[in-house]
């Protein structure tokens, strides 16, 4: 009794796994599991009856392009040579052909019949797969919207709008009768997967509409982008060079001449435009990219020094540059910081450049 039950369980389990009834225990038949059903788009395995059937399953019932079983039950070879596995199985079991015919006749009608239409997909499975693809596509679109740079998103949106306008213009020029015929033709030719994909996309879009937070956040980001003004490119600052009148072998002269971009015996000059339109030079010690460098051996808090800060601030603002004071030690840096703070100079930075 238990042996019979176990046999039934094994047969049922085999049917669940393989989709076919067990042919009973056979000592000379080695069962080989093989799933010939693949998704035609990505090649992944699918359930039996969905996707396309490709490859040699080793099971003559599943993939029998080379062995066709006619309605009369007569077996004949459709190709010159049988499959190697089949040939081996046939060699091992002389009664295999008869057993295959018997199995063919006992196939349940509810199961898809691969032998009669091995390339016919399962409509329900295809539709479900299409729904999944549609939802995935909608979710992918949401992910793309939320993770793409807003500038790119706006550009893509603009392109999409342009395409929509073009399509609308083309549709407007096409008679309604022709459009209806095209629509009916398209629906008539659509596969179950296509219809499922459209349905899934609609479901995904509905879900997207049900998440207003993400959409609102994106709209807010786009609105903020509108406030961002494109950076205006200005002509490079006109930096002149004048001859230095101070020539000495003292360390403070060497310190000033060692500024980045400095030229021996010459000083970089920015021309300051006065309120009356006249121009006056403001000297520095070096130039590095957008930074104009002035080296300070010692910080002096005298009227001339404060006036120099004001001149430098003004000329830097006029040329849209940044000033950089280089001082030899932290103590001078503290003094320079306080001096710049008192004079409210905001476009001059300080750094330590040891001699």
């Amino acid at each position: 009794m238990s042996q019979t039950k176990s046999k039934h369980q094994t047969a049922f389990s085999s049917w669940l796994r393989t989709g076919r009834r067990s042919i009973g225990p056979s000592s000379d038949l080695v069962e080989v599991k093989f799933n010939p059903w693949h998704d035609p788009e990505n090649g992944q395995f699918t359930f039996a009856g969905s996707g396309s059937q490709t490859g040699d399953s080793g099971n003559p019932l599943r993939s029998s392009p080379r062995i066709a079983i006619g309605r009369s039950g007569a077996r004949h070879a459709s190709a010159a040579k049988p499959a190697p596995g089949l040939a081996q199985a046939t060699k091992r079991s002389p009664t295999r052909g008869t057993r295959l015919e018997a199995l063919k006749s006992t196939q349940t009608p509810t199961k898809p019949n691969p032998a009669s239409g091995s390339k016919q997909p399962n409509a329900a499975g295809e539709a479900i797969g299409g729904v999944g693809e549609g939802i995935y596509g909608a979710a992918q679109g949401l992910y793309s919207i939320l993770t793409t740079n807003p500038v790119t998103t706006i550009a893509n949106t603009a392109r999409g709008m342009a395409r929509s306008v073009d399509a609308a213009l083309r549709a407007e020029n096409t008679p309604a009768r022709i459009q209806l015929v095209r629509a009916g033709d398209a629906i008539g030719r659509a596969s179950a997967r296509d219809i499922g994909r459209v349905a899934g996309s609609a479901i995904g879009n509905v879900a997207l509409a049900a998440v207003p937070g993400a959409a609102v956040a994106e709209v807010v980001a786009i609105r903020n982008l509108a406030k961002v003004r494109p950076r205006i490119s200005y002509d490079p600052a006109q930096i002149g060079w004048v001859k230095e009148t101070l020539n000495s072998t003292k360390p403070w002269v060497f310190y000033n001449d060692a500024a980045p971009g400095a030229r021996r015996g010459k000083a970089p000059v920015l021309m300051r435009t006065m309120p009356d339109g006249s121009k006056r030079p403001v000297k520095f010690d070096g130039v590095q990219a957008d930074y104009v460098i002035d080296r300070k051996w010692k910080i002096v808090d005298a009227p001339r020094s404060r006036a120099q800060v004001e001149r430098q601030t003004e000329v830097l603002r006029q040329h849209r540059l940044i000033g950089l004071w280089e001082v030899p030690n932290p103590a001078q840096k503290v003094k320079a910081f306080k001096l710049l703070r008192r004079t409210k100079a905001s476009n001059i930075k300080i750094r330590i450049a040891r001699p």
Binding site: T245, K283, V300, A302, P303, Q308, R311
Partner: protein, 104 residues
């Protein structure tokens, strides 16, 4: 006595740099010279520098108006008191507080 004579020379030089017009002395060169003068004074011996600092208010009496104020504030402009208080954090903090109070 020697400190007053040196202080008088320094005061004359400083007043010239500060009060000469831009057409006579380039303002940036004047600041550079003041920085050099500041460095020279801060490197003097401490007792001599102490004498100089004390002599500037006396020498300032020989000037009037804006020049007098300039000479009187030479120790302040060149951070000479801070140079004398080097190594004394309490005195340095006191001087910093006095400077901040004067600016505010």
């Amino acid at each position: 006595m020697i400190t007053e004579q040196i202080a008088r020379i320094i005061a004359s030089f400083f007043v010239f740099l500060e009060l000469s017009g831009d057409e006579i002395v380039d303002p940036d060169e004047a600041v550079q010279m003041e920085e050099w003068l500041c460095g020279c004074l801060q490197e003097l011996d401490k007792p001599f520098l102490r004498g100089l600092v004390d002599a500037f208010p006396v020498v300032a009496l020989e000037y009037s108006g804006e020049a007098q104020e300039l000479v009187r504030k030479i120790p302040y402009s060149f951070y000479l008191e801070e140079a004398l208080a080097e190594g004394d954090p309490v005195r340095l903090a006191e001087l910093e507080a006095l400077r901040d109070a004067e600016e505010s």
